[in-house]
Symmetry: C2
Subunit: 103 residues, 2 copies
C-alpha cells in the first residue's frame, strides 16, 4: 500500500471514517440516535419527541438505515426503529467524555 508508506491512511478508510462521523454530526440525527438508545420508537414518536415534522424524521431514518445505524420492524401501519450498532454507543460515550472536559 503506497499511501500507508507515505504516512497517510488510504482514501477508502478516511471516507468511511468521515461518513461515520458525519451521520452523528447533525443535531437532529444525533438526538434520534440518543433517543433510540433508551427504547425502540416509531416515526411519530420520534417526530413528537424532537418537535420536528414526521417527513423530516422519515428522511433521516432512511439515511440512518442506509448506513446501518438503525434497523426497523414493521407492526401494522407503524414502523419501529431501534439501534443496530453497538459501536455507535461507544463512539457517543467517548465523544461525551471529550465534550465534558473542555470549557
Amino acid at each position: 500500500m503506497r499511501a500507508a508508506r507515505r504516512g497517510l491512511a488510504d482514501r477508502e478508510t478516511v471516507f468511511g471514517l468521515a461518513e461515520t462521523f458525519k451521520v452523528l454530526s447533525d443535531p437532529t440525527r444525533l438526538t434520534i440516535v440518543l433517543a433510540l438508545q433508551r427504547s425502540e420508537l416509531c416515526v411519530l414518536d420520534i417526530a413528537s419527541l424532537l418537535g420536528v415534522s414526521e417527513s423530516a424524521v422519515s428522511h433521516q431514518m432512511r439515511l440512518l438505515k442506509a448506513l446501518r445505524l438503525v434497523k426497523h420492524r414493521k407492526e401494522g401501519k407503524m414502523v419501529f426503529y431501534s439501534l443496530d450498532d453497538e459501536h455507535i454507543e461507544d463512539l457517543i460515550r467517548v465523544a461525551q467524555r471529550h465534550v465534558g472536559e473542555r470549557r
Copy 2:
C-alpha cells in the same frame, strides 16, 4: 432538568457532541488530524501531503484551532501544528472499529 426527564439530552450537550463529530466528518480535516497523529507538521507540509492548496489548509487549521483540536508553535516564518486533544485519538480508534466491522 426537564429535558432529561422526558428522555432527551439537553440541547447544549447535543450541539456540543454534534460539533465534535462534525469536525471529523470532513475528509480533508480528518486526514489532517490523522497526519498530525504521527508528527507535528507545518502548513505547507500538510498541503503537499494531502495535495490541496495551502490556503485551503490554512482555513481548516483555523477551524481546528478554534475547536481546540490542534495547537500551534511558531518558528520563523513557519507555523507547526500538532494535536491538542487525546480524546480525539480515542474517538478515531473507536470509529475505526465501527467502520472495520461492517461490509
